[in-house]
C-alpha cells in the first residue's frame, strides 16, 4: 500500500475538524498524520492528511471526505513535485559532559537548540519525516524525555496553488 498526501481545504468553522476526524475513524481509514492550520484566506483552513491506502481505498477516502459539506476541495498531491515538512521539538537529557556531543549532532542535522538548562536541552528541527526520525535515533542514546511533532504539511512547487489545481 502506498502513502498519499492529500491537501484538504475546509471552511474555517468550529466543528469542522470533528466532522473530519469522526469520518476518518468511523470509516476505518488508515490515516498516518493529520495537520491543520490557517491559510492565505481567512475563511479557509488547510488540512494535510497522509493516508496509507490502495487506489480503491483512496478513492473512498476522497469521496467520503468530499461529502462533508464543510470540505471545499481535496487535492491529491501524491506524485506532484512537493515540498513537505514536519516540525519536531525534542527534549533530551544533557549534562555538561554530554552537551558537546549533542551540539555536534544538532549541527550536523542543521537543527536548532531552543532551550538549555543544567539537565536538558530542547532541540527544534524542521524537515522531512525521515530526517526527524534519524535525529531522534541519534539522540536516543542520551535519553529523550519527550517529543512533539506537528505532522506533515505539504506544498507543491511552482506557481499554481492547490485550490486552482
Amino acid at each position: 500500500m502506498k502513502k498519499h498526501t492529500l491537501a484538504v481545504l475546509v471552511e474555517n468553522r468550529p466543528g469542522v475538524l470533528t466532522h473530519i476526524s469522526g469520518l476518518i475513524s468511523r470509516r476505518a481509514f488508515n490515516i498516518e498524520s493529520i495537520a491543520a492550520g490557517y491559510t492565505e484566506e481567512a475563511d479557509t483552513t488547510r488540512i494535510t492528511i497522509i493516508v496509507e491506502a490502495d487506489v480503491i481505498e483512496l478513492e473512498q477516502v476522497v469521496n467520503q471526505l468530499s461529502k462533508l459539506i464543510d470540505v471545499i476541495k481535496i487535492i491529491d498531491l501524491t506524485g506532484t513535485d512537493l515540498i513537505h515538512r514536519e516540525l519536531a521539538l525534542i527534549k533530551v537529557k544533557a549534562s555538561s559532559e554530554t552537551r558537546p556531543d549533542i551540539v555536534d549532532v544538532v549541527h550536523i542535522f542543521r537543527a536548532r537548540i531552543v532551550d538549555v538548562n543544567p539537565e536538558t536541552m530542547v532541540i527544534e528541527l524542521s524537515g522531512e519525516e525521515r530526517k526527524i526520525d534519524a535525529l531522534c535515533q541519534m539522540l536516543n542514546n542520551h535519553g529523550i524525555i519527550e517529543i512533539v511533532r506537528t505532522g506533515k504539511i505539504a506544498l507543491s512547487r511552482g506557481p499554481v496553488p492547490a485550490k486552482d489545481c
Binding site: 468550529p14 466543528g15 470533528t18 480503491i56 473512498q60 469521496n63 462533508l68 459539506i69
Partner: protein, 563 residues
C-alpha cells in the same frame, strides 16, 4: 423586517412550504412553541420525541417533501438519534430542529444539555449549532437545501435558547452559497454511451433498481426503459414500487430473502445495471461471489457509493433524473433489437420463477401471515401506502404484497429500526390524508412505540394497524431456530398484553381475527372504520421467512421452503 428568532424560524418554514411539523415541547424551545402558538402553525404532537422524528420521516417518504420535527434540548434531542440514523441510512430528507441551552450555559453540563451536533455527526448529512440570531435565515435556507438536494438526508439545526428570543432584521436569502456543496445533476454523457455498448453485447443483462429510483421520482422513465428494452428487473427492498410488482419483467426482490428467480438471475447475469442501489450486505450475500460472471454498471448520485462495496466497471455518476432519461433515450435512438437479444434470457428467468415461485404452506386452522398480506392486497387492489416495522412481517410484505406505485412502501431498510412503523405510518397519513395507510407490525415492534396509538386517536389518523402476533421476536427466533440450535434466548414474548384493550385504552378501535375463516370479513370491517384500528392477528409461532440465503452464503445457496 425586525422580528424574534422564533418568528424567523416560522417565517423560514413557511418559505420552505412546510405544511406541518411534528414535535414535542420542552424548556429550551418554549419561546419557539410560543411563536408556533401565535402563528397557529400546523403541528402534530406525538407522545415521544422518537415518534416525532419517525413521523417526519414517514411524511417525507410518502410525500417526497422534507419532513420537519422540533424538540427540546438534552433528552428531547437524544431521543431523535435513532430516527435520524434511520433517515440517514435510507437517504430521507429531514430537518430536525432541536433546542439547546442558552449560549452562556453551553459546555457547562447544564440542565438538559447534550451536544447533539457531536452526537449526530455520524448520522446526519450536516448539522448546525446556532449561537447568533443573525445566522438563522442563512442556516434555515442551507439546511432545507442540503436535506433535499443531491443524495437527500437529515440535517440537524441545534439552536441555543436565547437565540429564539433575540431579534434580528429578517430577510430570507434567495440563494445558498456553499463552497463545499455542489450536488451533481448531470454526469458524463460518454458514460451512457459506454453503457449502451455493453448492453448491446450482453447476453444476460439485468436491471437492478434500488431506493434511489423512488427518491428521484423516476419510476415512470424506469418503466419506459424496461418496456422498451424488455430487460428483466430485480429490486432491493427500497426499490419496491418503482416498477409494479406484477410487471411481467419484475422478478422481485434480490438478496437474503429474495425470490429464487431474482437470486438465480443475479448469480447468472453477465451485465448488472445497478440503478440507485448501494449493494448492502443483505443484497449481495457472500460479497466475493456476488455477480461473479457479470460486468457491473453503477448509476448513483453519490460518487462515494461507487466502488464502496462492489467494484463497478462503468460508473454513471449523476442524478437519476438525468441519467435514466438519458439512458432510455439512447436505447431508443440506438435502433437496436433489445427484446430479441434478451428473449432467451428472460425465458430462462421465467422458468426459474415457474419452478420455484413464492409459496407458503396453507393452513385451515391457523392464520398464515402471507394470507393476510394477500387479502389486504386483494381488498385494496394494491392501492395503499404500506408501512412496516422490522422483522419477519417486513420481509413477507416485500415478498407477497403487489406494489403498484412508487413511495407506496415505507420501511426502515438500512438501519432496520424496530418501532419505526407506527409513528412513520402516522406521518404518512398526515401527509396523504386521502390514501389508505396500512401498518404491518409484529407484536415485538408495536411495543417499541405503542404510545403513539394515542397520537393516532388524538388526530383521528385512520391508519389500519395489523399486528402479526406470533408471541415471539419472529426474525430473532428464526435465526435461533436455524443457526443457534433452537435455543430461544429471550425471544419469547408471551405475556399478558391484550392489544385490543391496549388500543381501546388509548382511544383506538381494537379488533381481533381469531381464525382464517374470519379474515376477509373482519378485514373488510376494519377498512370500513373511518378512524384508526388495531387488529390483533395471531399467527403461527414457528413460520419462517423463506427463501433465505444463510449468512456467509452465496445468493444461489438459498434455503427454500413453502408448500
Amino acid at each position: 423586517m425586525i422580528m424574534a428568532g422564533a418568528e424567523a424560524i416560522i417565517e423560514s418554514l413557511k418559505k420552505e412550504d412546510v405544511e406541518v411539523v411534528f414535535g414535542y415541547p420542552g424548556g429550551a424551545v418554549l419561546t419557539l412553541y410560543d411563536a408556533l402558538y401565535k402563528a397557529n402553525y400546523n403541528h402534530v404532537l406525538t407522545k415521544h420525541e422518537q415518534g416525532a422524528v419517525h413521523a417526519a420521516d414517514g411524511y417525507a417518504r410518502a410525500t417526497g417533501k422534507v419532513g420537519v420535527c422540533i424538540v427540546t434540548s438534552g433528552p428531547g434531542a437524544t431521543n431523535l438519534v435513532t430516527g435520524i440514523a434511520t433517515a440517514y441510512m435510507d437517504s430521507i430528507p429531514l430537518v430536525a430542529i432541536t433546542g439547546q441551552v442558552a449560549v452562556s450555559l453551553i459546555g457547562r453540563d447544564s440542565f438538559q444539555e447534550a451536544d447533539i451536533c457531536g452526537i449526530t455527526t455520524p448520522v446526519t448529512k450536516h448539522n448546525y449549532l446556532v449561537k447568533k440570531v443573525e445566522e438563522l435565515p442563512r442556516i434555515m435556507k442551507e439546511a432545507f437545501y442540503i436535506a433535499r438536494t443531491g443524495r437527500p438526508g437529515p440535517v440537524v439545526i441545534d439552536i441555543a435558547k436565547d437565540v429564539f428570543a433575540a431579534t434580528l432584521d429578517y430577510q430570507y436569502p434567495e440563494t445558498v452559497r456553499l463552497r463545499g456543496y455542489h450536488p451533481l445533476f448531470e454526469g458524463e454523457p460518454k458514460a451512457i454511451n459506454q453503457v449502451i455498448e455493453e448492453m448491446k453485447v450482453a447476453k444476460k443483462p439485468l436491471i437492478f433498481i434500488g431506493g434511489g429510483v423512488n427518491l428521484a421520482d423516476s419510476a415512470q422513465v424506469l418503466r419506459d426503459l424496461v418496456n422498451h428494452t424488455g430487460f428483466p428487473v430485480i429490486t432491493t427492498l427500497m426499490g419496491l414500487g418503482s416498477l409494479p410488482s406484477d410487471h411481467p419483467l419484475n422478478f422481485g426482490m434480490v438478496g437474503m430473502h429474495g425470490t429464487y428467480a431474482a437470486n438465480m438471475a443475479t448469480t447468472e447475469c453477465d451485465l448488472l445495471l445497478g440503478i440507485g442501489v448501494r449493494f448492502d450486505d443483505r443484497v449481495t450475500g457472500l460479497i466475493n461471489d456476488f455477480v461473479s460472471k457479470a460486468k457491473v454498471v453503477h448509476f448513483d448520485i453519490d460518487p462515494a457509493e461507487i466502488n464502496k462495496n462492489v467494484l463497478a466497471e462503468i460508473r454513471v455518476v449523476g442524478d437519476l433524473r438525468w441519467s435514466l432519461p438519458s439512458l432510455h433515450q439512447s436505447t431508443v435512438s440506438a435502433k437496436f433489437d433489445w427484446k430479441g437479444q434478451v428473449e432467451l434470457w428472460v425465458e430462462k428467468i421465467l422458468k426459474w420463477q415457474k419452478e420455484k415461485p413464492m409459496t407458503y404452506e396453507q393452513n385451515s386452522e391457523e392464520i398464515m401471515p402471507q394470507s393476510v398480506i394477500l387479502k389486504v392486497n386483494e381488498l385494496t387492489k394494491g392501492e395503499a401506502i404500506i408501512v412496516t416495522d422490522v422483522g419477519q412481517h417486513q420481509m413477507w410484505i416485500a415478498q407477497y404484497f403487489s406494489f403498484k406505485e412508487p413511495r407506496s412502501l415505507l420501511t426502515s431498510g438500512g438501519l432496520g429500526t424496530m418501532g419505526y412503523g407506527l409513528p412513520a405510518a402516522l406521518g404518512a397519513q398526515t401527509g396523504c390524508p386521502h390514501k389508505n395507510v396500512f401498518l404491518f407490525v409484529g407484536d415485538g415492534g408495536i411495543m417499541m412505540n405503542c404510545q403513539e396509538l394515542a397520537t393516532a386517536a388524538n388526530y383521528n389518523l385512520p391508519v389500519k394497524i395489523l399486528i402479526f402476533n406470533n408471541q415471539v421476536l419472529g426474525m430473532v427466533a428464526q435465526w435461533q431456530r436455524m443457526f443457534y440450535g433452537g435455543r430461544y434466548s429471550h425471544s419469547r414474548l408471551k405475556g399478558h398484553t391484550d392489544f385490543v384493550k391496549l388500543a381501546e385504552a388509548m382511544g383506538v378501535t381494537g379488533m381481533r381475527i381469531s381464525k382464517p375463516s374470519e379474515l376477509e370479513e373482519i378485514l373488510k370491517a376494519v377498512i370500513a372504520v373511518p378512524g384508526p384500528v388495531v387488529v390483533d392477528i395471531p399467527i403461527p409461532e414457528t413460520e419462517n421467512v423463506l427463501p433465505m440465503v444463510p449468512p456467509g452464503a452465496r445468493l444461489d445457496q438459498m434455503v427454500m421452503g413453502g408448500g
